[in-house]
């Protein structure tokens, strides 16, 4: 039975930049490589970059990935790469890639550019039509502060790009599992009515989209995972019938077991009978997950229903500024000293005329990361103070009140080495839905 091998070498913008090149060399017959660059706030960061320079607004690190793969392509590799590094400027990203490929003499490589996910104009022109999925508020409330709004597109435009011969496909906002669904649709020629198969490919994409979280990373029994310093990235072998095997390259660390795969299956899902993606509504309730061999786990039994008629939209808006500070306290009553020091900082900022809108004091080491579950009073703790306010000056004032604790705070306080905490803008998340009919994904395939 025909099968294709799809690997993931980037779970988020910040994952190991050397991983794609390493995975491609570890698995010479890899068919597709998927990379994920867009967390919720990535697009906000790219919006700021593009404001300063219109040729930016995409993940520049992707160019380093392309450079690392050029030697393989020059050697005849047919590896295809699919990623959302395009951010707010997929065309700009593609042009920069074309330049690199051309300099390397690889003019025949075609790049698919997918856009149309940007729906900011829709929301700005009819804000009353868009409702926050969590709060129920209308988008009028963020009219003045909205920064970005992007729909999570599905696999269909990517399939079109692949069928037109694209070897690299660059998108903006896209549903992560669609990066895996698209190669399956293109290679196997499944119909869009093959709901169970599309569900299977979607679940396969969900398993690998977080990279090493499928190969032992972020697992409960992590201390038992062999060679985590050399942990392999996941490869999924998808078969024509929709079943798939999760595995990783030979001679790498990590572990692909029923446990590590089940943990990733359950990661960031809601109702497991209705896992929503733009391509399908998938059910996990008939899946079987079995160890087929060393570091090989086979998943069968996915069931699918038609997708909803709306795209999920991730909008972001400016919501003031924030900063966080860390200091350590050692000795008798460390926790009490740390908490008191935190309260002093907030009080001093108030004395300067800024009653901070929000603040949080956490005593790390005391169990405060998850309050109320377990607590202790260790000999050393880390004081963390996090603050947020609409007024930048309020946060700047806070930032200057940390160092003075060194001489006015408790003896035993230490760790002020990284300078004043940085004042950062907050880009808050505003989830909503948009009718699919209002969005037109655009597919362009370019070459030099």
């Amino acid at each position: 039975m025909k099968k294709i091998k799809i690997g993931n070498a980037q779970a988020f913008w910040g994952d190991r930049t050397v991983a794609p090149g390493i995975l491609a060399r570890q698995v010479p017959n890899l068919d597709y490589l998927t990379l994920d660059y867009l967390a919720e706030v990535s697009l906000s960061i790219m919006a700021i970059q593009r404001e300063k320079d219109p040729s930016l607004g995409y993940a520049k690190d992707f160019l380093n990935v392309v450079e690392s793969l050029i030697p393989l392509w020059k050697n005849g590799s047919k590896l295809k790469v699919i990623c959302n590094a395009g951010g707010l400027n997929p065309e700009g990203c593609a042009k920069a890639c074309i330049q690199l490929l051309s300099d390397a003499g690889l003019e025949e490589i075609k790049i698919g550019v997918i856009s149309g996910d940007d729906v900011l104009q829709h929301i700005q022109s009819s804000p009353h039509r868009f409702i926050n999925m969590e709060s129920g508020e209308k988008a009028d409330t963020i009219s003045d502060s909205i920064v970005t709004a992007n729909a999570y597109l599905g696999a269909e435009p990517l399939v079109e790009a692949l069928k037109k011969g694209a070897q690299i496909v660059i998108t903006g906002r896209i549903a992560d599992p669609s990066l895996t669904v698209a190669p399956c649709m293109a290679e196997f020629g499944w119909s869009w009515d093959a709901l169970d198969k599309i569900a299977a490919a979607t679940i396969a994409g969900h398993v690998i989209e977080c990279g090493t979280q499928a190969t032992g990373g972020f697992s409960t029994e992590w201390l038992t995972i062999p060679h985590p310093e050399n942990i392999g990235f996941p490869v999924v072998e998808v078969f024509e019938d929709g079943s798939f095997v999760v595995t990783k390259p030979e001679n790498t660390g990590g572990a692909v077991t029923v446990e590590t795969v089940k943990e990733q299956l359950l990661y960031e899902i809601g109702d497991p009978d209705n896992y929503l993606s733009p391509d399908i509504t998938a059910s996990f309730l008939s899946l079987t997950v079995e160890q087929e061999g060393v570091n090989r786990v086979r998943i069968k039994g996915a069931k699918g229903k038609p997708p909803t008629k709306k795209y999920k939209v991730s909008a972001t808006y400016r919501d003031g500024f924030r900063a966080d500070a860390l200091l350590a306290v050692y000795g008798k009553d460390a926790a009490a000293k740390a908490r008191r020091s935190g309260e002093i900082v907030i009080e001093r900022v108030a004395q300067c005329g800024f009653k901070l809108e929000r603040h949080l004091i956490e005593c790390l080491g005391c169990g405060d990361i998850v309050p109320g579950v377990a607590s202790s009073s260790p000999v050393e703790v880390v004081l963390r103070i996090a603050v947020a306010d609409e007024r930048k000056e309020a946060i700047e004032c806070f930032s200057k009140e940390i160092a003075p604790l060194i001489t006015s705070g408790p003896q035993g306080i230490t760790g002020y080495t990284s300078g004043r905490p940085k004042v950062r803008p907050i880009f808050a998340y505003w989830p909503t839905l948009i009718d699919k009919g209002l969005v037109t994904p655009k597919v362009e395939v370019i070459a030099l």
């Binding site: 446990e259 089940k262 497991p272 924030r322 996090a386 808050a428």
Partner: protein, 101 residues
């Protein structure tokens, strides 16, 4: 017989906007049967009362000996807005495993 949940299950948590989810996978079918009775929405809500969940929903995946718990509203605006160190709920799975069962 008092045990900790980590003796009979694995977990993994993550965020979904302002809510968090915790997947709990029982190590075997007997443990799953026990947890169906004991690991209720009320017990999970009580365990996390310090985070003030608006609601806790339990989904069952008997085919995987697993549950998915959704804790609504625990992430206080989520990702970039929440002031908590663990604004993405990545520690909640391990926190749940500390429950006495």
């Amino acid at each position: 017989m008092t045990r900790f949940l980590y003796e009979i299950a694995y977990a993994r948590s993550g965020d979904k906007g302002s809510s968090a989810n915790i997947g709990v996978i029982a190590k075997d079918s007997d443990s799953y049967a026990l947890l169906v009775k004991l690991l209720t929405e009320e017990r999970v809500a009580a365990h996390f009362k310090g985070l003030h969940p608006k609601r806790v929903i339990r989904y069952e995946l008997p085919n995987l000996y697993a549950f998915n718990f959704v804790l609504e509203g625990v992430l206080d605006g989520g990702g970039s807005r929440s002031l908590r160190l663990d604004s993405q709920g990545k520690t909640l799975g391990q926190a749940l495993l500390l429950m006495k069962i």
